[in-house]
Amino acid sequence: VVTALVVEPDPPPTPEALVDLVLIGSPGAWSALAELVHGHILDLCRRRRWAARTAHAADLHREVALRVLEKLHAGDYAVLRQWAAARDRYPDARFTAWLGAVASNALIDLTRTTRTTDELGDEPAATALDPGDAVDLARVVRVLTADLFPADQRIAIAMWLRGHDAGAIATELRLVDAAAANRLLHAARERLRRALRRPEVTRD
């Protein structure tokens, strides 16, 4: 009787394991993590539709990915260490969510770099948010992410927030024209407004 011995290959290390390996200085771990993070950030940029349907979208995504890698690597992995410390306190914390936050920060840096004082005109600089607005903001996002909120309207709002115009929204959502995108956006805001006018049970 011949018994076949099947040796399963080792599974690839998880991002969490790679983070730990990087932080203890394991050779090659940074390269492996960088490759994994790079792919993840490109996926995230596409999913979030950053610069969607523009000619420079791929360039922007690549640049965001590179900036994230720089951020993770800088200062002897200082940001990565902060993440690892938080993850130790909160084992449920999601690496991909944190990585998304780092990517958003990189995107803001890219968009900020292009602005000058002249372009901003007399717009006031960003200041502290009213605490009530902070609460409202959480409510807004909670409504947007509810299952019942139509996906196309959620996408339209998200793109509008990121500065896309109606034309870009129409292209992304395959609408007939910018006017249709404006109508969708208007409907989304009205749906949001109605939802927010409903009393919300708050938790103390």
């Binding site: 960088a34 950053w50 944190w98 998304g100 936050a101 902070a134 947007l144 927030l161």
Partner: protein, 353 residues
Amino acid sequence: VTEPTTTLASLAAQDPLAALDRLAADLAAAPPETGACPSIWPLLAVPGDGLTGRDRDARDHHLATCARCRIIAVETWLDQGEVPALAALPVATVLPALPRPRRSRRSVYAALGVAAAAILAVGSAVVAPMLAGAPGTQLSALLSIPRAPLDLLILVDGQATFLGHGHLPAGSTPAWLGDKTFRAVQEVLAKLKQTVPPDTRVTLATATGDTFDVRLRDAPVATLSAAALGTAADYQDNAASPDYPHVLDRAAALLPANGHRRALLVLGTGCDAWSGTPAAAATARSAALERLDAAGIAVLSVTYWNEEAHACAEPSILRMGTARSVRVAQPDLLADDVTLMLARLRLDPGARR
């Protein structure tokens, strides 16, 4: 004792979307990152209400004062499809922060316009000069590896199934891939000047069997373009993939020699035309790579191989014995991965000069 909480219900009743409009305006005027910002980001990744009271307060007080992290938080929550409960804000925080006069709709749209213009301008006004090494950019501070120029040889697999545009017999599957990969390699060449340091010198060669066809020799990277590859018809009759042991051995002589860090970038299917057994070919490739390594030449390879379209049983060059080798699943990912490989070359602290 329960701290008083704010709901600012009256504000919400006036304009429930005020917070949304404020957020849109934040995008156009996000302040610089502060030292505290990165410490908040991990807290955004904790699902539900899992944070301790202290961390929750830290997160929410930071969000109330940092427009940048508000944007980041909303992006993160939208992406995760989940919003944590915000901490009850103490009255001492609420009272001084009475609602300010609202920005007019016009000013919000103006801010959005600026944001849109900024995003559209990124490609031409920021990304290109930054990648090209404009002073003051973060890329120039790439840790232990400065943005020194390279002496770079790009070696492209010249076989017809990779670069040609021939036709398989009617009814063959899959469709011929040459056209796609030809365009993908053109894209790599067109974008390379944005990826490598500006004073980099480039030689571009294609290889079939053990012969090279040098298409651009020791030229400034700025002069490299997709046209350097010629046309797909040029490769139509190339039946053989490169004979890598011989090709790698002779590559050093083709590298530009201007005293810069030297790198060889290999693009192809990875199929090897070496005439010996696969084991002997692997040994010969390893020996050639060791010689390149000893000469201080970094070897990077990005391969696209399709088991149905390409003749070889497997992309043997993936077993070059170097960590700097990746295989992409689609031709149009070649450019992305070349960018990544070159970035890794800069990030890799163990890389040779």
